[in-house]
């Protein structure tokens, strides 16, 4: 990679697998449960978090030397909240349809522990460029898991992907439904997101010895 130094590249690639914020650090679980019933919602949330985390990391990093340590958590919270409100307003004005699809998720971004976690653990101690890369990496790691979970939940729960009926029509009994296949309504409920997540963690740990604990 000519563009990024080895250390910088690691900031992006590490959170994708070996230090994934969801499966390894177990952060951001709440939103991973809430919104992964549909693939589209997962993708939209992943993009929204990517933007907020990258921008927020840069802002916090630029302010790192002037933030009073006693109220740093409050400052971080204000930065996330302000960013999210601005994003929400801009979307409402210029991309109204998109903002309707996002609806609750925009607010949910504020509560995402990954964002506060990265501000606190990384942006406060590193320069803007590294912080930006770290934000992109962590948000992407979060997004990948969200999309995997969303893919399985929508496919097995509703028999659709992005709203398209890929498995046939359950009422008209076409496609796989003709052979007696049924949608598993359980997949749409939050507990199944945890189980899917558990399976992902299991697969990841069994393939990577560095992650196995005694």
């Amino acid at each position: 990679m000519g563009l990024l130094s080895k250390k910088d590249a690691k900031l992006i690639t590490d959170p994708l697998a070996d230090n994934n914020p969801i499966t390894i650090q177990v952060l951001g679980i709440c939103s991973a449960l809430a919104i992964t019933a549909e693939l589209k919602a997962s993708i939209v949330m992943a993009i929204a978090v990517l933007f907020v985390l990258a921008m927020g990391n840069v802002v916090i990093s630029l302010m790192r030397n002037i933030i009073p340590s006693k109220i740093r958590i409050i400052v971080q919270l204000v930065v996330v909240a302000a960013l999210v409100i601005v994003v929400d307003l801009v979307l409402k004005a210029y991309a109204y349809d998109l903002s309707k699809t996002l609806s609750v998720f925009v607010g949910l971004i504020i509560t995402n522990c990954i964002i506060m976690g990265r501000f606190e653990a990384f942006a406060l101690a590193n320069g803007p460029w590294q912080s930006f890369l770290d934000g992109i990496g962590n948000a992407a790691g979060y997004g990948i898991i969200l999309i995997i979970v969303g893919f399985f939940r929508e496919l097995l729960g509703s028999g659709t992907l992005l709203g398209y009926k890929v498995l046939g029509d359950p009422i008209e009994k076409t496609g796989v439904y003709a052979f007696g296949y049924e949608n598993n309504g359980f997949m749409l409920l939050a507990p199944m997101a945890l189980i899917v997540l558990g399976i992902i963690i299991w697969v990841q740990r069994s393939r990577n010895e560095a992650l196995i604990e005694d």
Partner: protein, 248 residues
């Protein structure tokens, strides 16, 4: 030595400064974008009302509103008359569709007279009446528009929500749910009964249009109950108007 940023005076000044800067920034963003946001909301209302009377660009299975640049034109052509019902008074008002239903509901709770907007259009030579409704879902507000003929038989609906669960309650704005309402009767033997979103419906393919029931969405019980309740409580208010319409 104590760092400069650890001092109490610095901390307080920083906090005050931050509040001013962030507050000013957000206020500026909100006020400069306000006009555009209001315009988007107005267009959306027109699109929703037109959707309810069946003027849309639907393709197989998807919900497609009429295009934004055409909507003002089509709206003024399709909606012949907009009225506000207040008790026995009926007044015409070309901006009745802008009435805030939420505000009217709070007014009614406070004992004040409520304005009931009704939009009158025409379809295949028949007059068609669209009423806005609003209620509570599982997480937040749900609302919609119901188009009826003069016998209070539903001609089309549009539902929307603020934050129902994706994949479950959020599906009230999907075709498979909304299309079921078309043709359903709101009255039973001259008495207003509404339409119930029913679990364990005996008629899942919705062939019986006079049973005052449509099939519920699995996993979205509370949102479905919210739709039932909002249809019942809101459209009930229009019953006297429709009764009058018949006797005249």
């Amino acid at each position: 030595m104590e760092k400069r940023t650890d001092k109490n005076s610095y901390t307080i000044l920083f906090a005050i400064g931050m509040v001013f800067v962030v507050g000013a920034m957000l206020a500026f963003a909100a006020s400069s974008l306000k006009g555009k946001i209001e315009e988007n909301k107005r267009i959306e209302k027109q699109q929703n009302i037109l959707y309810a009377i069946g003027v849309n660009e639907n393709e197989e299975g998807s919900v497609q509103f009429i295009a934004k640049n055409k909507v003002a034109d089509v709206f003024s052509k399709q909606i012949k008359k907009q009225i506000i019902i207040q008790g026995n008074n009926v007044t015409e008002d070309a901006n009745a569709y802008l009435i805030d239903i939420k505000k009217e509901q709070t007014n009614a709770k406070a004992g004040k007279a409520r304005k009931l907007p009704l939009f009158i259009g025409e379809k295949e030579g028949k007059a068609i009446y669209v009423a806005p409704i609003r209620g509570k879902g599982l997480w937040d507000a749900i609302w919609g528009y119901v188009a009826m003929d003069k016998n209070m038989v539903v001609q089309g609906v549009y539902f929307d929500h603020k934050g129902e669960t994706p994949g479950l309650g959020a599906n009230i704005k999907q075709r498979f749910f909304m299309d079921d309402f078309t043709g359903e009767h709101l009255m039973k033997n001259q008495i207003f009964k509404g339409i119930t979103v029913a679990k364990g419906n005996a008629d899942p393919k919705n062939i019986d249009k006079t049973d005052n029931e449509v099939d519920a969405i699995a996993g979205a019980t509370i949102t479905g109950d919210g739709v039932t309740a909002m249809i019942k409580s809101e459209l009930k208010l229009y019953v006297p108007y429709f009764k009058n319409l018949k006797t005249n």
